[in-house]
Amino acid sequence: MLKYFDAIRTLISVAIALVIAFLIIAMISEQPLETISIFLLGPISTTAQIGNVVEMSIPLMFTGLSVVLLFRSGLFNLGAEGLFYISGVIAAIIAIYASMNSFIHPVVAILGGSTVGALLSAIPGIMKAKWNAEVLVTSLMFNSILSGIGLYILNYHLRDAAAFANVSYKFQETARLANLIPGTRIHTGLILVLCCIVATHYFMYHTRWGYELRMTGSNRAFAEFSGIKTARVIITVHLIAGFLAGMGGAVEVLGMYSRFQWSSLPGYGLDGALVALLAKNNPLSVVGAALFLAYIRIGADQMSIMSDVPAELISIIQAIIILLISAEQFLKMWKNRQLLKEAEKLG
């Protein structure tokens, strides 16, 4: 039982959050049962809805994976948000202005976005490694900076005056990601992100670099003592995490849109932190965590369209989950009793 304590606690947290959500629905909805069933079953009612869940989970998986790497190396970095955004802008530039065939074009655009993401991400990494600048602060600052720069590029260089909204010129058709499943908008980005997740899993548990990352995150003094150059590890982790977050931004832009249209930070980076929290910093669990988050969001969207409960309910659910998972004391009594039992068994 103890072995699965963290997993059980996560599931119970999720269950409690859902129960509270149902209670709120019961209080404010005219037809509570119908509303709950829309919320729960809406996302799997049609192929298109299932498609919505999957396509929404793709960017969440990218940013979640990026944040897992950072958290696992002991860095509380929330910079995936800004990197996701700016890399989307870079991918959009390549998608609009470059001319290539339809295989090379998205590859170049995605690699362009990822590379820029990696390089920008290295800045807080270097600041942490060299001067011990707190990454939570620097990464949040960078989100503001990158959002400003992205908005400037959109407004002054990419904006299509002929369009009615604040959006860019149309992407070249060659740059768009291919559709994977007809009847949905699920694109080839899904294959890419699943490959990234498996690769990250192998990287983390079966390679020297991943080993260095885990040891540095678990106890930096110990890593140093063992001869691991932790400053280098921190910079490497930032490069990889930035690359993944950037890839997420580029893939999302090329897979879902025909113009660049984010005039503010889209929020996927911070959601990535939530995914990492739910996944307990385990790369493979990112898939389930991202799908779950996408599922309840689509459910909430459906609910707001088809019933009298607003979609903002989702914020309450998320807040409760975060609160319960991050509250160390939650279920500690239960754990203590288990410990006592186990100890007695051993005699």
Binding site: L2, R208, Y211, M215, F222, F225, G227, I228, L339
Partner: protein, 547 residues
């Protein structure tokens, strides 16, 4: 040997209220019953422990390191909550949430690591949190007067106006005891008070404890040094692996019996050392000098060499430069050190840890929690931390998972590490088993020089013996070993050559450490004695000259 069952020393009725004076020696002032404590990591530190104190006695709490003595006392002092059991003080049920609650009820504790503010004076430390006020400020003269008064009353001589950072360890301990007394402590818990003291200071402490006893205070004396326990205590509670192994009147038990109850076998700290065959010097330290941030010479012209197949021990009271010496040799002080330290001819001062390890140096650190292990990671991950870069354990970027698990299994068996397997997080292990893993890691990479810093601190005797035997085995396989330890027994028994460090200098060298007495070492360790002339780090005999 007569064992007194716990029941016979229980007071006749629970409604009994504390009697004044020492005449009522039969009465229990404090009872802890059925105490069980299981820590978050699953370690059971106490299992159904009963413990009682009679008014005005000095009560020894003895047991190996890790037997649960400290935990039991932390529970009594409100630092840890018991998982089960009850505490009754003068018949009244107690539930201490914080040390503050315990202090209010007249319980004081002097920790192994002192809790004093170094930059404050003795008087300021004394009144911390209960300052006598004059207007808005602190009435400093009143604090000095209070300190002086208490110091006179209990014959614990301290200078109230001295800064704590300038005091010796023994003096700091006195301040800690006075602090507890000032807060009205009637029951005083001393956690291994003699661990940091020289033999002379220990004797002085004992005299003061007897004064306290005469004044009607009850003292808990936590120790695993049987001679001391025997010398000063009235009764003894013996702890063994988390349980109470019995309560005895001191007159009724011999040291041998106590030792047998503590470990379940007679403690033997005698090893059959093979004759030494020294080879060429491996480590050669010349003129090593380091001036620390306080402008003090923490290391002063250290000269030292270690040959293959030789264990060089460095004894000394902590804080006399041993830590700095180790740091200098393991890259912790960077380029701020003057002098040279060569391993087989290569200079290692100003190298970083990785390059130092690549020279073939292994290091068992003093602090296993912060430096020696990554607690949340598995045993096998902790074992390969110093060797995963080698081709034996990786194929390019990828680690050889199966070989690593096999290595971990082999070492777990060889070092008798009690665990569920290589995948268990190392933080779940007890201190002794964790230390075994660390020693296993450092010894299994065929080092040419092993630096062992307090390698058996805080581990049980079984683990300590295993570590000692491993060190001797390494020596016989021609490894050069630098052993730094505050445990005189260990260092005298293992070392081939023994140095004493005091005030950043090597003040004495002995070629036959086992023939030196603890008392004589104490004189050097305290700086009362110093060997004359150039000690070149080699060839100084034990006919020392007294200053």
């Amino acid at each position: 040997m007569r064992r007194i069952p716990f029941n016979s020393i229980r007071p006749p009725s629970l409604g009994w209220r504390g009697a004044k004076g020492r005449t009522v020696m039969r009465q229990n002032v404090l009872e802890m019953r059925n105490i069980t404590k299981v820590y978050q990591n699953g370690v059971t530190a106490n299992r159904n422990v009963d413990f009682s104190l009679r008014e005005g006695e000095i009560h020894a709490l003895a047991g190996e390191n890790g037997a649960g003595k400290s935990t039991l006392m932390k529970i009594l002092f409100g630092m840890e909550a018991p998982s089960d059991g009850e505490i009754r003080l003068r018949g009244e049920g107690m539930r201490f949430q914080t040390p503050q609650d315990a202090i209010e009820k007249g319980i004081g504790m002097v920790h192994q690591h002192f809790m004093l503010v170094p930059s404050f004076t003795v008087a300021e430390n004394m009144v911390l949190g209960m300052e006598p006020k004059r207007g808005l400020g602190i009435h400093y003269e009143e604090a000095v007067r209070m300190t002086q008064e208490l110091s006179d009353k209990y014959q614990l001589t301290v200078d109230p106006r001295a800064k704590v950072e300038s005091l010796s360890v023994g003096m700091k301990q006195k301040v800690e005891i006075l602090k507890a007394l000032l807060r009205g402590a009637k029951i005083l818990i001393l956690d291994e008070p003699t661990a940091v003291l020289t033999p002379q200071e220990t004797e002085e402490l004992f005299k003061q404890l007897l004064v306290l006893k005469q004044e009607g205070h009850t003292i808990v004396f936590i120790s695993h040094k049987l001679k001391e326990v025997k010398a000063i205590c009235d009764r003894i509670t013996i702890m063994r692996s988390g349980t109470s192994a019995g309560v005895f009147d001191m007159a009724d038990v011999t040291e041998q019996e106590i030792s047998r109850l503590m470990v379940g076998r007679d403690v033997v700290l005698k090893y059959d050392k093979a004759e030494s065959f020294y080879g060429p010097p491996v480590l050669d330290v010349q003129g090593l000098t380091y001036v620390n941030a306080l402008d003090k010479k923490a290391l002063n012209d250290i000269r030292l060499s270690i040959r293959t197949g030789e264990i060089v021990g460095i004894a000394g009271v902590e804080g006399n430069g041993q830590a700095e010496l180790v740091k200098a040799l393991t890259g912790g002080l960077g380029g701020r050190v003057k002098g040279s330290a060569k391993v087989n001819g290569s200079e290692l001062i100003s190298l970083d840890m990785r390059s130092i390890r690549e020279l073939g140096i292994s290091y068992v650190p003093e602090d296993r929690m912060s430096q020696g292990a990554a607690k949340e990671e598995s045993i096998s991950d902790n074992i390969i931390s110093t060797r995963y870069r080698s081709r034996d354990w990786n194929k390019g970027l990828f680690l050889k998972g199966k070989s690593i698990v096999r290595l971990a299994e082999k070492l777990i068996e060889e070092f008798k590490v009690r665990c569920s397997g290589p995948a268990q997080p190392i933080g779940m292990l007890s201190g002794g088993n964790m230390q075994k893993v660390i020693v296993a890691r450092e010894c299994s990479t065929d080092p040419i020089l092993l630096i062992a810093e307090q390698p058996t601190r805080g581990v049980d005797i079984g683990a300590a013996q295993l570590v000692h035997k491993k060190l001797l085995e390494m020596r016989d396989q021609n490894c050069a070993i630098l052993l730094i330890s505050a445990d005189l027994n260990e260092i005298m028994e293992l070392s081939d050559t023994l140095y004493v460090m005091y005030g950043g200098e090597l003040v004495a060298a002995f070629d036959k450490p086992s023939e030196v007495t603890e008392e004589e070492l104490g004189l050097y360790m305290l700086g009362l004695k110093k060997q004359q002339g150039e000690h070149t780090g080699r060839g100084v005999t034990s006919d020392a000259q007294v200053l």
